[in-house]
Amino acid sequence: MAGSIEHEIALGAGRERVSLPVLGRIHEWVVTVDHKRLGLMYIVGGLVFFVIAGLEASAIRLQLAVPNAGIVPPDSFNRLMTMHGTTMVFLVGMPILTGFFNYLVPLMIGTRDLAFPRLNAFGFWIWLFGSLLLYFSYIGGDGLYGAGSAPDVGWFAYAPLTERAFSRGNSTDYWILSVFLTSVGSTATAINIIATAFSMRCKGMTLAKMPVLVWLAVIVSFQILIALPPLAAAQVMLLLDRFAGAHFFDTQAGGSAILWQHFFWIFGHPEVYILVLPAFAFANEIIPVFSRKVLFGYEVMVAASAAIAFISLSVWAHHMFSVGMTPAGNSFFVASTMLVSVPTGIKIFNWVGTMWGGKIRFKVPMLFSIAFLLQFLIAGLTGIMLGAAPFDWQLTDTYFVVAHFHYVLVGAILFMIFAAIYYWFPKATGKMLSERLGKWHFWLFLIGYHLTFDTMHFCGLYGMPRRIYTYQPGRGLETLNFVTSLGVIFQAAGVLFLVINVLTSLRSGDSAGSDPWDAWTLEWATTSPPPAYNFASEPVVQSRRPLWDLKHPEDPDWNYE
C-alpha cells in the first residue's frame, strides 16, 4: 500500500495517472480496496441496473397504457414486474446508497479508508455476482421444459406460490439465491460502516460531532444488520422446502403461508427505511449548504432518525391488514404505524426550520431537494391513510399502494439520489455537471413523475389491483392508465438528460476545485477528486462543521454546540 501512495504523491494528488493499457486499468479497478473506487463502482453498477429496471417499467406501462393490450403476454409481464421490483430494491437502491456511504463516510470523518477494506471489496463483488445471477435466470431459469425463465412470483414472493407445486423449474431459486447474495454484500458493508464510524474518526470528532450523514449511515447499517437476516433466514427455509422436501411454507403439510408474510415484512418494512434514511441523510447535507444555514436541531434530527429506525421494526404487519388478523392485532399495528409518522414529521419540520431565514440558492441539488420535501410529505400522508387499517382493506394491493410507495421510492429516494449525484459529482470527478442540462433533467423528470404517480392513486380508488397484466375496458380505468403511461416518456427524457450531462461534463465540464458549493464538511477539505489516501495529513476537528470554523474564525461553531 505504502508504495502506491508514494507513487501517487509523485504524480500529484490523484490526477491523471500515467496512462496504463486498458487491461491494466481494468485490473486496477478489479483488485482495488479503495473505498472511493468501490463506492463509485457500487453507484455506477446501481445506475446501470436502474436503466434496466426502468426499461422493464416502461414495458409494463406500455402494456397497461390501454385496456386489454396484447403487447406483453401474461407470463412475461409477471416476470417483468418481479424483476422490476427486485432489481429496483436490491440492485439499484441498495448499491447506490451503499456506494454513497462507502464514498463519503471515510471522507467525512477524516480517515483514509473503511475499517475493513478487503471485506468492502468482498461485499461489492458478492453483490455484483448476486445481481448477475438474477439476470442469468433469463437464460438458466428454465430447469424444466416450459417451466419459465426469470422469476415471476413478485418481489415479495408470497408462499405457497413459490413452492415446488406452483413454481416449477428454477426461476424462484434464482430469485432466492441472488437476493440472498446481495444481502450478504449489504451485511458486510453495514458492519464496515459502523466499525469505521466507531473506530476510525479523526482527532476531535466525538460521536456528537459526526456529520449527520454519518450518523444516519450508522443507523441504517444497524437496521441492515437486524432486518436483512429475517429475509435471508426465510429464504433458506424456502430453499429447504424446494430442495430438501421441508414443509416450512407447504400449506398441504400443515405449513403456514402467513409465516412467510411475517418474515418477509419483518424485513420488508425496515427495508423501506433502510432506503429512505440515506435520502434523508443527503437532504441533511444538501439543504443546509444551499440555504447557507446550519442544520436546525442536529440532536433532534439524529434522535428522530434513530426513533424511526426503532419504531419501524414493529410496524411490519401493516402490510398484512387484509390477512385476517384479530381486531387487537390490527389495532396494535395501526398504533405503531401512526406513531412512526411523528419522528418523520419532526424531520420535515427541521428541514423547514433550516431553510427558514436562510439565503436559498436554487442550484440543481437544491431543486431536487425541495421537490423531495413536498413529495415526501405527500408520501407520508398517503402512508397515514394506508395505516388506517379499514381504509387499507380497500387500498392494499391496489394502484394506490403502488403510487404511495413510488412516492417514497421515486419521489423521495430517487429525487435525493439525483440531488446527491449533482452535489457530489464534482468531488468524485473534479468536474461540475452542467446547471442548464440539470434543470432540463429536473423539470422533465418532475413533470413525468407527477403524470405517472399522481394518477396512479386514482386507479387504485377506482378498483384497479396491482400486478395485473391487463384490465378490461369499460371499468373507468382507460384515461387514468393512459396518462400514467404518458408520464414515462417524460421521465425517460429526464434521465436521458442526466446521462448526456454526465458524459459531456466528464469530457468538458468546468473544473470544480476542492469546494465548489462553499460547504462545511470534511470531504470538501481535500482535492477533487480526492487522492487515494484522502487527506495528506489526517485532519483535526473541533465542531460539526470544520470548514465553517475555517472560513469564519471570528465566529466558529464550537461556541454554540
Binding site: A115, F116, T187, A190, I191, N192, I194, A195, T196, F198, S199, M200, R201, K203, G204, F222, L225, I226, A227, L228, P229, P230, A232, A233, A234, V236, M237, L240, A244, G245, A246, H247, F248, A253, G254, G255, S256, L259, F263, I266, L522, A525, A536, S537, E538, P539, V540, V541, Q542, S543, P546, L547, D549, L550, P553, P556
Partner: protein, 200 residues
C-alpha cells in the same frame, strides 16, 4: 490547510486509543446480525411446535443431549482460559487450552451426528417427514453449521500455533475468534431450551 481548525496532529495515536478496536466492533456486529438470523429459525420452531400432522413427535424420539451440552458449554471456559494465557504471554498454555477447546467442540459435533443417525435410521425422522423434522433439522443443523465454521477456524489457529506463528501481539485477533465461539455456545443454550425443553 494551514489554518488552525484542520491541522496535522502529533497526538493522533493518543486519540486513536480512545476509540474501540475495530475487530471487536466488527465481531459484535456480526453477532448482532447472526442473532437476528437465528431468532427467525427459533420463531419458526416455536410456531410449529405441536402442529405436525404425522408422527414421530418430539416427545417420543428426543432426549436431551446432556453430555454434548456440558462439553460445548465448558469449551467456552477453556477458550477463555486460552485467550488469558496468550494475553499473559504463555504460548504453551494457550496451545493447551486451545486444543482442549477443539476437542470439546469436536465431541459436540460427533454427538450430534450420533443423535441424527438414531433419529433418521431408528425413528424414521427426516427433514421431509413432518413439520417437527423440518424445523428440528434446520434449527439444530444451522447451529451445527456454525459449530463447524468455528471449529474450522480454531483448527486453523491450532495449525498456525503449531507452526510457531502465534505471538502475544495476536491476542486481539484470537480474542475476536473467541467471541464468535462464545456466541455459538450462547445460541446452543437458546436452541437447547427451544428444542429439548419447550418443544418437547
Amino acid at each position: 490547510m494551514a489554518a488552525s481548525p484542520i491541522i496535522a496532529s502529533d497526538s493522533r495515536t493518543e486519540w486513536a486509543k480512545t476509540l474501540p478496536y475495530k475487530g471487536r466492533v466488527g465481531i459484535y456486529l456480526l453477532i448482532l446480525t447472526e442473532s437476528s438470523f437465528f431468532s427467525i429459525f427459533v420463531v419458526a420452531y416455536l410456531f410449529y411446535v405441536g402442529k405436525s400432522l404425522t408422527p414421530p413427535f418430539p416427545r417420543d424420539v428426543l432426549s436431551p443431549p446432556i453430555v454434548n451440552t456440558i462439553c460445548l458449554l465448558s469449551s467456552s471456559v477453556t477458550i477463555f482460559l486460552a485467550v488469558r494465557a496468550l494475553r499473559s504471554g504463555s504460548i504453551g498454555g494457550f496451545l493447551l487450552w486451545w486444543v482442549v477447546t477443539l476437542a470439546l467442540g469436536l465431541e459436540f459435533l460427533i454427538g450430534t451426528a450420533f443423535e441424527w443417525h438414531k433419529l433418521i435410521y431408528h425413528d424414521g425422522l427426516t427433514i421431509s417427514t413432518n413439520l417437527f423434522g423440518t424445523t428440528y433439522y434446520s434449527l439444530v443443523g444451522l447451529h451445527a453449521l456454525h459449530v463447524t465454521v468455528g471449529l474450522t477456524l480454531i483448527f486453523l489457529v491450532t495449525i498456525l500455533t503449531l507452526l510457531g506463528h502465534m505471538e502475544g501481539r495476536h491476542v486481539e485477533r484470537v480474542d475476536v475468534l473467541s467471541w464468535y465461539w462464545h456466541f455459538v455456545d450462547a445460541v446452543w443454550i437458546v436452541v437447547f431450551t427451544t428444542v429439548y425443553i419447550i418443544g418437547r
